[in-house]
């Protein structure tokens, strides 16, 4: 540029020539309408919102259900007595006080969570305190009258639990995620089930957003089980979340799941967290909580929504109700080597997730498989019976805990390289405890840490010969040089022959792969 100083004009403290000024104006205008710059910036997707945190610890206020006044009346046996002599002689004073406070609590609880401010919450807490005081007075005044004392105790217990649940609702860090979609009563129902709002997607998954509902998907169950298709195209299975489980499986009780407060949905979410940690989130369903009206009761239920596993379950019931193992291919037409490799990789990864979770219900009805050409999809479904507080050993094969057994025994004899890398680099307290502590009780968390650490030790022992980077190319150490499929099948299906030639449970196996596919693969010369 050759410009004299007089050609320059001053803008602020800068000296800019007319030519440069014209250039800058043109460039600024071009920047404003340049598709290169403007469209690119406009098209950038917004950053995903940060995941809301769970509360630091699980709160499950099972008893938090206010007695209605009608229920209280039924327990006491009569309605409050009228006052006499124009109020000079007051009667049923504490009973009436309980009625008044119950009405206050019910009125507030029926309101939308997002419409309530701190003052409303404080007023409800005060009403509960008044109710507790009235119930105590009522109990004291009717000492010796069993039904009345019992009624007072019931009111007391439910009001105390309601207070705990109310505090948990207010303290939940993800309160904002649900506040515009549920009432305070529903929020308290969440806390009765130990649900963290971070795991709720009531905004996406409610009946207003459903385009198709099949309520007969799990007809006859205690809680509704429905298959629901939503506006966003997702097809999910809804299972009403129980507060307590009066028909608990024996194995669930054996591993220490409290039937009074099972928080089964949380066990499914925790399972998903473990599979994700291992780098294999696809081997279990994606899960969250949603809302759906139970067709039998007409009531809106809170329940767990799960992605529907692809394919079919390994076991099925025949027409007379016998449990049968499904044939996934015709004899002589086994899947491709690629598919067998993927089946081994995914089933073994599910084995690893299961031992860390302490899964005790991985029977063939809870395992879905799809094999299409070279592609395979394995999904371990219904992850309710796991994370028991009593099961410290990941090798807690069911025969060690209960006479029935549904899981393949022993620790997995192979490990996928990705799972290995994640597991050995992982630290339970650092990587998993923050996620799991809002889902499980402290005892369940401690047992999970124990299983995690022992699983890690087992994985380290498999390194390097049994860490599988390529499931098709891997061979067992010389001289056997078995394929991964043959090696897993050779490790056994969970049973061994005894001295009498009969079969008895063994304590090791080649996991789900050997249990469910070993026989067919052997038949077809693939193992």
């Amino acid at each position: 540029m050759s410009e004299s100083r007089t050609q320059r004009r001053k803008r602020g403290k800068a000296l800019v020539s007319p030519l440069e000024r014209d250039w800058s104006r043109v460039v600024l205008e071009l920047i404003d309408r340049s598709p290169i710059v403007v469209e690119d910036e406009a098209e950038l997707p917004p950053p995903p919102p940060p995941a809301p945190p769970r509360p630091p610890a699980l709160v499950q206020a099972v008893q938090a259900r206010m007695l209605t006044f009608e229920e209280l009346t039924a327990k006491i046996g009569h309605t409050p007595h009228w006052n006499q002599l124009f109020g000079k002689y007051k009667r049923s004073t504490d009973y009436k006080a309980m009625r008044a406070e119950i009405t206050k609590v019910e009125t507030t609880a029926a309101k939308g969570l997002g419409t309530l401010g701190d003052r409303d919450f404080d007023a409800m807490a005060t009403a509960l305190d008044e109710l507790i005081a009235a119930a105590k007075r009522y109990k004291a005044a009717h000492a010796g009258k069993e039904n009345k004392v019992g009624a007072g105790e019931d009111v007391l217990a439910s009001a105390e639990a309601e207070k705990l649940a109310l505090a948990a609702v207010r303290a939940d860090p993800a309160f904002d995620r649900v506040k515009d979609h549920i009432t305070l009563k529903q929020a308290i129902e969440c806390k009765r089930r130990g649900i963290a709002f971070a795991d709720c997607r009531f905004d996406l998954y409610n009946d207003d957003k459903a385009t198709a509902v099949d309520d007969n998907f799990g007809a006859g169950m205690a809680n509704s089980v429905a298959k629901i298709t939503y506006e966003d195209g997702s097809e999910l299975v809804f299972k009403g979340e129980k507060i307590s489980d009066t028909q608990q499986l024996g194995i669930a009780s054996a591993i220490g799941i409290d039937g009074g407060a099972p928080h089964n949905g949380n066990r499914n979410i925790a399972t998903s967290a473990i599979a994700e940690f291992l780098g294999k989130p696809e081997v279990v369903p994606k899960v969250c909580y949603g809302l759906h009206s139970n067709p039998l009761t007409g009531q809106q239920e809170i329940g767990l929504l799960m992605t529907k596993g692809a394919g079919k379950t390994v076991n099925y019931k025949d027409e007379i109700g016998n449990n049968k193992r499904r044939a996934f291919w015709e004899p002589g037409h086994p899947p491709s080597d690629d598919a067998i490799a993927k089946l081994g990789e995914q089933l073994t990864s599910l084995d690893w997730s299961d031992v860390i979770c302490g899964q005790q219900d991985r029977h063939g009805g809870n395992l879905m498989i799809e094999i299409e050409g070279d592609e395979v999809k394995v999904t371990g479904i219904d992850n309710d019976v796991c994370f028991g507080k009593n099961q410290l050993d990941p090798n807690g094969s069911k025969s060690k805990i209960s006479s029935a057994r549904t899981n393949p025994p022993g620790m997995p004899p192979l490990i996928d390289k990705k799972v290995y890398d994640r597991l050995v680099a992982g630290d339970f307290d650092r990587d998993l405890a923050p996620t799991l502590s809002g889902l499980l009780t402290p005892e369940e968390l401690a047992a999970a840490k124990s299983r995690f650490d022992l699983s890690k030790q087992h994985a380290l022992g498999l390194n390097p010969d049994y860490v599988v980077a390529d499931w098709k190319a891997w061979r067992s150490p010389a001289p056997d040089l078995l394929t991964a499929a043959a090696y897993l099948v050779a490790a056994g299906n969970g049973f061994q022959q005894n001295v009498h030639g009969g079969w008895e449970p063994s304590e090791s196996s080649g996991g789900l792969f050997a249990r469910d596919f070993g026989q067919a693969l052997r038949r077809d010369g693939k193992a």
Binding site: V27, L30, I36, D40
Partner: protein, 154 residues
């Protein structure tokens, strides 16, 4: 390099790049992404020099251009698509190379068309501050290498 005149004319017609023009051909197995990244670094260095010159003037308009106007050209969503195609080609198995090459060819052609049609690039290359900016020349050299790689037998 193109194997024949027919291939060369296809490159000129479809991709807008002449593989016979000067530019070192990439060797077999060369990373097309690395070639692009080298060109991007060279282009960014030129834009960086221009930005420094703009900021040195202490003028708010110049500052604004330096801050917001320059680096969107070598970044942004359309560039993300190009980079995805470059990565896809590098990662493709031999059997998938043809399809990945076709996708990359389209991405290069689209990105290059945008670069050459841009009045903003015209203005930056013709800046009055005496800073040499040659974005089209810089990227075209890289694209020639990429096209040469695409035309090599697998």
């Amino acid at each position: 390099m193109a194997d024949s005149e027919q291939q060369r004319s296809w490159c000129i017609r479809v991709l807008g790049v002449d593989p016979a023009a000067p530019g070192a051909p990439a060797g077999p197995g060369a990373s097309v992404l690395a070639g692009w990244q080298a060109a991007k670094e060279a282009a960014d260095a030129q834009l960086d020099a221009l930005a420094r010159a703009l900021r040195s003037r202490g003028d708010p308009d110049f500052d604004q251009i330096a801050e917001y106007g320059l680096f969107g050209i070598t970044g942004g969503q359309s560039t993300v698509g190009l980079i995805a195609a470059l990565r896809g080609y590098d990662a493709a198995a031999p059997a998938e190379r043809a399809a990945a090459g076709a996708a990359l060819g389209k991405a290069v052609a689209a990105w290059r068309a945008q670069l050459h049609a841009s009045a903003l690039v015209d203005a930056l290359e013709d800046n009055p501050l005496g800073v040499t900016v040659d974005l089209r020349g810089t990227f075209d050299a890289a694209f020639r290498q990429i096209v040469a790689t695409l035309r090599q037998p697998a």
